[in-house]
């Protein structure tokens, strides 16, 4: 699911969980889809669960965007997902917003 607001591309991450069982598949699909976009938001409110592999794929997306001068913001994390990001200190690496609109506003400033 892809949504474009002006220059910003919003990916609504599919499924209820992003774990070692579907992380490879997700990575295979998302990385090519990012090409050509520089301002990207991952809208994550549908994800109830992310594990370290899932987090790894999101990291690889960030690195790919950064390498091409783009930026990634994360929005709408459920509480357990947010807890994982904080546990491994990834809240310092990612720009994390409570909602899609807050993330959009941050890009438009």
């Amino acid at each position: 699911m892809l949504e474009t607001v002006e220059t910003v591309t919003i990916f609504h991450l599919p499924g209820e969980s992003l774990d070692a069982g579907n992380a490879k598949e997700f990575k295979r699909d998302i990385l090519p889809a990012l090409t050509g976009h520089s301002q990207v938001i991952f809208e994550m409110s549908g994800l109830k669960f992310v594990d370290s592999s899932g987090l790894g794929t999101i990291l690889s997306a960030l690195r790919q965007l950064n390498a091409n001068g783009g930026d990634l913001k994360l929005a709408g994390m459920q509480k357990p997902v947010r807890a994982l990001f904080e546990l491994v200190r990834m809240h310092r690496i990612f720009d994390i917003y409570n909602t899609r609109d807050e993330a959009l506003a941050a890009f438009q400033q």
Binding site: F49, G56, L59, P80, L87, R89, I93
Partner: protein
Amino acid sequence: MKPSSMIASPIPESSPAEQRLLAEIERLLVPFARATGTGLAYCGSAAPVWLAGCDACPCSRRPGETPACLAGPSPSSRTERDCRALSCETGRLLVCAPASQPGLSDAMEQLLATIDRQSALEQQEEQLLDELSASWESLEAVYEISSDLGLLTTPEELLERIIYRAAAYRTGLKAVLWLERDGIGHPLTQGVTGLAPRPMKNGLIGQVMAERNGLILNGGDRIASHPHLEEELRGASNLAVAPLTTRQHIVGALVVWQEEANGEFDSHDMRFLSALALQAAMVIENDRLHRAELESERLRQEIEIGSKIQQILLHGQIPKAFPRIEVAALSIPSRMIDGDFYDFIKPHEECLDVICGDVMGKGIPAALVGAATKSAFLRALSQLLSTKGLWRLPEPHEIVSRAHDEVVNQLIALESFVTLCYARFDLTMHQVQIVDCGHTATVRYRPETGACDLLKGVNLPIGFYEDEVYEQRAYPLAPGDLYFFYSDGLTEASDEAGEAFGEARLMEIVRRNHDLGPEALIAEMHRELIEFAGREALGDDLTYVAVRVLPAAAPSTGLQILSDPRNLGRCRQFAREACQALAPAAGEEIVSELELAINEAVANVMEHAYQEREDQPIHLTAAIEKDRIAFRICHQGRSFDPATAPPPAFDGSKDGGFGLFIIAHLVDEITYDTDAQGRHTVTMIKTIPGGNHGSNA
């Protein structure tokens, strides 16, 4: 080079048990190890030694050299896969598979198991012999004196007999029995001359009497330095004093000492002396009461003394530390002591022997016959153990026959007999072996049938017939099985109308209360009896013994999956449901944390232990232990050393490597174990605040 020359020289100061173990290792293992290229090392009381070299693992050395890997901590924590220690009581055995093989062969595994079992058995046997000798020495004295009861009539003769027995306890002993009357001690002596009556108040013996506690003094200097030492004790190198106590009074003291400086006294000796002192006090007290013709007081005293005898001599201590057997016993002495007795022997922690007996006749003589019979059993077992050769426990029928041989003639002479039940609960054999000698029928409850039945043997009571051959019966034993032994005081108790309590009522009460546990069952049985009889005071002694094999624990919650990462969702669901079932106090945050921890750990197993193969077995279990929930993940993949994992990159430069860090922060404990079959288990434990949910669910 002969194998024996390799073993003997490097272990100069090993114990007899260790030497026997080494001899067994040499006989069973070394030839096989050398033939198959398996490495074998023993680490015992002396320097570790290779018994057979191997070329498989880095710690390999030649025979006779100290293996490097034995110098470190337990080899089980090492990464060399096939090195493992086998726990023998006297030392550790390290075994390395040959290079050509992935692991130890089945034959080697079996040989190792044999060695391990044998060394454990031997250890148990030594302990058992120790315990037995302590018990039967005390009982021995009582036994001899009780046989004299029929022959000797005067208290003086009985006291002579006691002091003689005390002096004969060990060669070179001197013994004095001081009897106090009106503050003056009167000596009865054995091996001592020149003692005259004297005041007892001052001096060492007077001190023991005042304190009412036995005293042991070892060492001539220690004794000589005592400020108020009696003259005759000046030359003693070791001494022991036991006070003669009745319910209200101190009536004297039994003193033994020796002048040669060998053989110190210990608590076993004190136990023996106390048994003699109790006998002497009983004789004196009976005599005093008899003279005073205080009939009612005498009876009261007799009960008092009788129940003391029962406590000390007739009723054994319940052995502790059976992981899977529960035992309880209760004895309620009546006005008329009638010589019920019971005892327990613990051959090992999966095996319990119960002896319940009842002497025909009443009063103190019956109690003493009971004590003597019990003594004969303990001695029979002890003798059979020491003559049987290693590692075989004598069977109940052998023990009963041996004890019977010893006491049958005395019992016939005394015109008494003993009904008895000897039962062995052997969990390793899943069997109860019972020799019933005319005792009350044993009540058995089995969860399998949900009903009780009565087990009755065909043997005559002990003391009936000299040439009796004792038949043993075996019954299958399963978790939850309950056995109830009792004296005839229970079934023969009658209500006001004269109806007997009877076996049917007994069985029904056992059936109804089978899950209470032995102690509560006995309490309930006694309550029912009092209610039935309509009175507290029953004519007979009552003895109850209940033994239950613990019911099998309910299978802990478990999940079996294949190592396909798409199964991770099921693992999380399992973690969530297990939390809800086992630890309802766990809040959402904790449940989420455990979901993540289990997810990460299982994902690690799939990725690293099974190298991303998706068709391998993984088994998850959950159990609650008090306020801690434990998740176990079992697999048969590669073992995993967390120390070798690279630390996570917190700067976002790497996608992976967070798993262990995450787990470590979410659970309180994580451990990695490998069993003998090469199965690995990852255990994660987390405390649930406010959660205390009892046993495994």
